[in-house]
Symmetry: C2
């Protein structure tokens, strides 16, 4: 069994106007059921991590929403960062707090806002990763690429360690399309989905080696975590911690030292980065139309969505109003209480440009 | 000078969800300014008809809205039909009431929900029509066709009477595309826009000849109109009146009798039948985008409409929410407090199918 850590941050600007700085995507039911993404993440991890061993790391803004959406998660397992200090501080805090409670623990870290189609296969892969972690490796779960995606980093795999476990020789930044195509063709690369499984003692040792200041700060915070001093120590030390990603701070150096390995994940992973992607992963009607969210149900006989001669649309009805599309192909329609978006699916990536434009204008609806 | 009659009826289902049974298109600001269509209609007629000689004929549902939008129109000039009895009863009621007040009057009848681009030219054409009416002709203002439209009836013109006035030999039903193309090619046909100008005595005489029952009922109602008996007589007689259009009841027979003539109208007429048409007639930005209605203005620096890399769109922001379009071409987006519509401009005619579908489902949002 694992200790599960779920970093919950990032607003998902490509999912505007649904996802907002104040209402990020992991709090939304983008799963094809009434479950929100973070609820689905916790449910997916239940076979490998008891709820008492499941942690969410988040900022002050979203902690109340998370607490309400996960009523059975112990209060003390919601780790609230006083301010954003990037992923190494977030994940490192969880590792240090868990080590304080169980020095032998194996922890896995999984984003709050990803979707997995095949939950059983996901659990199998995690058990393989756990086996690697128990051997003292910093394990990643890489995603078997389905196309030459330029929006993700890649893991360059090396020799086989045991069974499906292979070493990771290098972490690669987001590539150009040519490079990504070559990566996929070679069969040696996996998508870096920021899923990690490791013994907390192994991770903390590597953190101490590469980022001693960050390590020492986190250890001092963790020592105070289950005491009356938590707030004071956290408030004192947290703002001084280096702001750095876990890949850059620890994983790249650990890979160079031969400490990182991976198991390939082929469980239908999706990072729900934009509405087009969301449309690909959720169940569609016969014409390929996807209606997102639990409000798509009939409300006293009144449809929330009326599609007439339309195909391939992604409709997100989130205001209770009727959304009607007539003769539309491959278009996204997102309806929220204060903003509506219409955009072709192949422009879904550019939604963040709209958010940038609104931000420039000082518009609060972002 | 004329007496102006404005029949205000019909909900405009192709303008759903903006236009509703309870909130028809003539009450909406679809003019490119803050004016509603009926306000623009009254303003357009001001050079030829005093406000005291201007009448609106409407049903019980819309009378309050009309009264509020036209605060200077005398109460007694809003003629309220107890129930819909088609256009001959509506226009005939106005003719009979006007004849009661001024037997020599020339009246013109103009729909409440049409747009005219060149108001000065419109007035010139009306003066020509008035001249024909004073000679004892039932005048129509036909619209010089700009394309072989199959959605309108046509007037078949005959010999020249005087100046621009020509006889109308026949009223033609909505034609097929082939027939419409031949009509336009021949130069002998005008669109029938249901604009009429006539002496009330001439019209009522022709009504008596062709529809004696309707004529007698309307005369009895008109006699009671400015008395304490109005409600009683109206309530008694109105429900018994034949339900028939003025074209079918009077104009076709009058044309056969050589009593109908026309002046061609070349003043940029548009019947605002659907959102595509509306987009053609209202001012557009450099990319051909049209924003309809007075709420398109900035509200404290917050845009109501945000168009990014979009062209040829028709956006109707009527809920106060932000409407954002990214990468859209030639599409209609209509945003109202309880429904939003997305549809390509070339499918604008089919919006009524959505309304039919909602009606079948018993949905009240129509």
């Amino acid at each position: 069994m694992l200790h599960a850590v779920i970093p919950a941050g990032g607003s998902g600007t490509r999912l505007w106007p649904l996802s907002r700085a104040t209402n990020p995507k992991f709090l939304h039911p983008l799963t094809g059921t009434a479950e929100t993404l973070i609820q689905a993440t916790v449910a997916r991890l239940a076979p490998v991590a008891a709820l008492g061993d499941t942690y969410v790391v988040t900022g002050v803004a979203h902690a109340p929403g998370i607490a309400r959406q996960l009523p059975d998660l112990p209060d003390s397992n919601i780790l609230i960062e006083p301010s954003p200090r990037d992923s190494c501080a977030a994940i490192g805090l969880a590792a240090a707090v868990i080590a304080q409670r169980d020095p032998e623990a194996v922890m896995g870290s999984f984003a709050a806002d990803h979707l997995v189609r095949d939950g059983a296969r996901f659990v199998e892969v995690l058990r393989d990763a756990e086996a690697g972690a128990r051997r003292g490796l910093l394990m990643t779960v890489g995603i078997t690429p389905t196309h030459p995606e330029t929006g993700y980093g890649y893991l360059q795999c090396g020799k086989t360690v045991d069974g499906p476990i292979r070493t990771v020789d290098e972490f690669k930044e987001k590539p150009s399309l040519d490079v990504a195509t070559e990566y996929v063709r070679s069969g040696r690369y996996l998508w870096n989905a920021s899923m990690f499984v490791w013994r907390v003692d192994v991770f903390l040792k590597e953190l101490r080696r590469q980022q001693p200041e960050l390590h020492d700060g986190l250890i001092r915070i963790a020592a105070a975590w289950d005491t009356a001093d938590r707030d004071r120590v956290l408030g004192e030390i947290w703002p001084t911690l280096p702001k750095i990603s876990v890949d850059y701070a620890v994983m790249e150096g650990a890979a160079a030292a031969g400490l990182v390995a991976t198991v390939p994940g082929d469980f239908g992973w999706n990072d729900v980065g934009d509405f087009h992607t969301l449309g690909d992963v959720l169940p569609a009607d016969d014409a390929g139309n996807v209606i997102v969210g639990d409000s798509a149900t009939l409300d006293g006989g009144k449809p929330e969505v009326l599609l007439h001669d339309s195909a391939g649309t992604v409709v997100v009805p989130q205001s209770g109003r009727l959304v009607a599309a007539l003769g539309m192909r491959d278009v996204i329609v997102v309806d929220t209480p204060d903003a509506v978006l219409v955009c072709p699916r192949d422009r879904a990536q550019d939604v963040k440009k709209l958010v940038d434009e609104l931000k420039e204008r000082g518009d609060s609806r972002i």
